[in-house]
Amino acid sequence: MTVRTSRRERRRQARLEEQEQSIPVELYGLRRGTVPLLTALAFLFATFTLIPIAWILINSTKTQANIFETFGFWFARPFDFFHTFSLLFQNVDGYGTYIQWFGNTALYAVIGGVGATALSAFAGYGLARFRFRGSRVAFYVIIAGLLVPITALTIPLYLTYAKAHLINSIWGMVLPSMVSPIGVYLMRTYAEISVPRDLIDAARIDGGGELRIFFRVALPLMVPGVVTVLLISVVAVWNNYFLPLLIFNINTKYPLTVGLGLWSGRAVNSGDADLYPMLVMGGLVTIIPLIALFLVLQRYWRGGMLLGSIAN
């Protein structure tokens, strides 16, 4: 009981603090009417973004006939949610099982996402806090990597993979996912802001080796940045369609994107009875882990990491 009270009390405190810190809009040179207008625009945008999620949630409860014949934004009988959900565990017409694709996706996303985050953190910290021959050029090359569209790389990538025997290999999916130019860029910027040079110098004077300094001093301060990169990387792998399409031709290795694409094509071509509800349900289940991940990681985005460390 006391815990709940104190938590409520804390929330109230936070709200009060926020109110105290908020500055009248006039001081920013805005007119009073501007704020409601902008709020309305933001609300519209939020609605626009959330509408597909609402649609998918509602239609996951419907039968195939109802999906097409009833109003898209309201429920209809019969309530077919659990039946459709159970179908996700079945192999449909030998095209593959949703749950297997889900497992594949999770595997690729965890290894690729965590790998990309680790490499980005190492590289970003290195580029931010060490000056070495070619460090600048290396960084610019990485930035340039951001600008190259993946489609431009299709043929060279496929030929390289074929030579390296990475076709139908999990490593063909995971290794490229670990290279994240945007991750390196973000981590470099974040490390520059959040890890003061003096702190590293102090750790060196204290006799710390570079690896120990990274893990014991720098990394804890980079956590909000690391979490951001982790989320971006995991989502990137989770949603990646092009790469797995290129390298996998066995449906047991497919991730969700390619698997659902296969079902989708099948549904359009054959008019198969239960494929549309399964596609809707599949889409819903696909986004749930990402929302969960976001909610779990949210608490790591906090400011004031350096409070008390460096006097100005």
Binding site: P196, D198, L199, A202, R204, I205, G207, V217, L221, S309
Partner: protein
């Protein structure tokens, strides 16, 4: 064998900026040396070269006799306190202090004992479980010290450790640092821009300007015998009054329209053989400390005129005041309780400080009638008021002379260059 030995140490940045140039000095075992100078004089760069955090362009750094130019900071056996403390924000006070010991692989039990010991030395026992953000500025400062002393390093480096504290706390921490220094006995190199800190704390002081050593010696020697104009201005507060003057044929000093008799002796200064010999008819810069200007008894007269009235309108009057006196118009009086600073104007051209942008004339434009070119430190019971004309008695033996072209002090044996004078000025 000295604990720290710098030999001809130089640092030139890739941009071509020279931060430190030919710096040579020794710090003996257990000695506390203050490295002082204005901001940008290269003192922090020099300290960082000793720590190994900055590459050395040329010269050598020796720690306990061993050349360490290419030795990593982590094995130099130094403790360092940073200007901004640089505490590990996510670690507790105990973990901050014990970090170095953990790096060395000291067993936990031993580590805890030594952390508690260091904490006790600094009065941090009750704060060991706290994070830096839960500490006050003074406590953070102490944690930074604790982190440095816990390893009992051979050499202790401090980079303006008190500059982030308020004035009162700074005075307290000054004493605290000296106490800790005496307790651990490590050779200490202490960087500061505050000459008061340097004077009160240093066994010896090295004055740096423009990356060059100006003088190195005991505080009282630097104060009593500054090697050049820079040191004369930098050490002492209020700073030394400096005027352009000429030595006339009779051996008197002529400052503007005033004449200061040196008692007919060309060698008025104790221990200085013939300082002004052969300089008759040539310009010199003469310096006098604010406390060496003594108010002549009953010599104050009310100045009838405005600020424009100065000694210049009474050449004969100033002559008649006799040997060793100067006439001045008091502009501002600053009572400090223990003493009074009388800010005055005197009809003598001040020796212009090349580092100051505003010249005397500009000051006059800004504050007409308030231009001043000197300060006297007087007894607090002195009844001196702004607008008064006063006469100061000056003991010629307490005057300082400098060559206007080189800026070097005149009168010390050999008239050595400041860099050379620095090395062993204290032995004089």
């Amino acid at each position: 064998m000295s604990a720290i030995g710098l030999e001809n140490l130089s640092k030139v940045y890739a941009s071509g900026v020279t931060a430190v140039s030919g710096l040579s000095l020794d710090v003996d075992e257990g000695e506390f040396v203050a490295l002082v100078g204005p901001s940008g004089c290269g003192k922090t760069t020099a300290l960082r070269m000793v720590a190994g955090l900055e590459t050395i362009t040329s010269g050598t750094v020796r720690l306990s006799g061993r050349i360490v130019n290419d030795v990593s900071p982590r094995v130099r056996d130094i403790g360092m306190v940073f200007q901004n403390y640089a505490l590990y924000p996510h670690l507790t006070v105990a973990e901050n202090i014990g970090f170095a010991l953990a790096n060395k692989g000291v067993p936990r039990k031993e580590r805890n004992r030594r952390v508690r010991e260091a904490a006790a030395t600094l009065g941090l026992q009750d704060l060991l479980g706290r994070k830096p953000r839960q500490l006050s500025g003074g406590q953070r400062q102490r944690v930074a010290m604790g982190r440095a002393i816990v390893r009992e390093p051979a050499v202790f480096l401090m980079d303006e450790p008190l500059s982030n504290l308020d004035a009162k706390l700074r005075v307290q921490m000054r004493a605290e640092i000296l106490r800790v220094h005496q307790a651990i006995g490590s050779a200490t190199l202490y960087v500061t821009h505050d000459q008061v800190e340097a004077m009160t704390m240093g066994d010896r002081i090295a004055v740096l300007s423009g990356g060059r050593l100006q003088q190195y010696g005991r505080p009282r020697d630097l104060y009593a015998r500054p090697a050049n104009l820079f040191v004369a201005r930098f050490i002492g507060s209020p700073e030394m009054n400096l005027y352009q003057a000429t030595l006339d044929d009779s051996g008197d000093l002529v400052l503007g329209s005033q004449r200061l008799a040196l008692g007919g002796r060309p060698t008025p200064l104790e221990g200085r053989p013939a300082p002004l010999e052969g300089r008759a008819g040539r310009p010199v810069i003469v310096g006098v400390r604010p406390e060496d200007l003594l108010l002549g008894p009953g010599e104050t007269t009310s100045s009838s005129g405005s600020g424009s009235a100065s000694a210049s309108d009474s050449d004969s009057a100033s002559d008649s005041l006799g040997a060793g006196t100067l006439t001045a118009d008091v502009r501002v009086v600053e009572p400090l309780g223990s003493e009074v600073h009388a800010i005055f104007s005197i009809d003598a051209p001040a020796a212009v400080d090349p580092d100051l942008t505003a010249s005397a004339e500009e000051t006059d434009d800004l504050l007409p009638g308030l231009a001043y070119n000197g300060v006297a430190r007087l007894d607090p019971r002195t009844a001196v008021r702004p607008g008064e004309r006063v006469t100061f008695r000056v003991d010629p033996a307490r005057l300082h002379f400098f060559d206007p072209t080189t800026g070097l002090a005149i009168g010390w044996p050999g008239d050595r260059a400041p860099d050379q004078a620095g090395a062993r000025a204290d032995s004089a």
